[in-house]
Amino acid sequence: MSEHSEHEHHIVSPKTYLAILTALLAGTALTIAASYVDMGPLNPIIALAIACTKAVLVILFFMHVKYSTKLTKLTVGAGVFTFLILVGMTLADYFTRAWGRW
């Protein structure tokens, strides 16, 4: 990729923004509806899956990461990856060490 194209400024169209807004509102309705159905341990998993999908839509389109430079994409990716390691390791530690003996 040439130096120039990295600096090109992509303008996201209002149509895209409107489509994302609709998807986010649909996701909100879906997550509320899902909470009224008893799915046992699946309830939090489904709620988090919907929330993650919504967050990805916001990051890619509202925050323009889909159209950003490789540097920005790498920054966001590395950040999320580090975050998941920190949370994942902490939870793994708690869940396997003194569980049930607090």
Partner: protein, 251 residues
């Protein structure tokens, strides 16, 4: 701010160069300046993700430890208010994105309108949060000196919640852990609300500047990077809403 160009004279090379007045001299091009600012904003947002991540992790651990207390306590939250707030915040993210678009298209009127709508929706969110907080104060569900476990040791004393969820009374030692749920509830939604308040203040500043014609002359880095902040605050709420309000409805 105008988009006029400054022509400076480079003494050493003896040639003229042109660049927009808002380009700082330590950047070679305006593209480089924008990339650097964008990168810096994302680094700041990553520190924010780590900060809220700590609160979310604490919530997940304690929810699993004191599960019955967290389920009963979360039944105190009203899904209607939480859902309405989600609607307001997502819509405000959309109007903010449209504000960035207006600035890119150099439409001053549309930019002012979008920023004002974002401002109003943000205030609406805080207003609803106030209604919810007040109820917690009235029921003595704010952690501290006057905290009361009555709603949890004796659910019949709280008929509205009792009718909807039919919770069994919690043993007194488990009921005391509901205070931890509310501590995390106020810490997380409170920190989120603080971010909203800061965002609304900056929005007010931007509306004044936009009315004076700033941002629509080609230099909109401030609007773009504020947009990133506002969307980030939206994402935090996208996770707070299901985790605090929804996932324990049926347990």
């Amino acid at each position: 701010m105008s988009d006029s160009t400054v022509i400076t004279y480079d003494a050493q090379a003896g040639e003229e160069h042109e660049h927009p007045s808002y380009q700082r001299h330590h950047f070679e091009t305006i593209g480089q300046q924008n990339d650097a600012t964008n990168f810096a904003m994302w680094l700041f947002l990553l520190t924010e993700i780590m900060f809220f991540g700590g609160l979310f992790t604490a919530y997940l651990i304690y929810r699993n430890w004191y599960y019955p207390a967290f389920v009963a306590a979360s039944h105190q939250l009203d899904i209607f208010w939480g859902g309405l707030n989600t609607l307001l915040l997502i819509t405000s993210s959309f109007t903010m994105a449209m504000g960035v678009w207006s600035a890119e298209m150099r439409k001053q009127g549309a930019l002012v309108l979008c920023l004002t709508l974002t401002f109003v929706l943000g205030l609406g969110f805080l207003g609803i949060k106030t209604i919810e907080y007040r109820e917690k104060f009235e029921k003595h569900h704010v952690p501290g000196l006057h905290y009361s476990v009555q709603s949890f040791t004796n659910p019949a004393s709280d008929p509205e919640i009792e009718r909807e969820y039919r919770d069994k009374p919690l043993p007194p030692d488990m009921a005391t852990h509901t205070e931890l749920y509310f501590f995390l509830y106020f810490a997380m939604t409170g920190m989120h609300a603080l971010h909203m308040i800061i965002g609304i203040c900056i929005l007010g500043f931007m509306i004044v500047r936009a009315r004076a014609g700033a941002y629509t002359g080609g230099h909109l880095a401030f609007v773009e990077n504020f947009g990133l902040y506002w969307h980030f605050v939206d994402i935090v709420w996208i996770f707070l809403f299901p985790l605090l309000y929804l996932i324990s409805r049926h347990q």
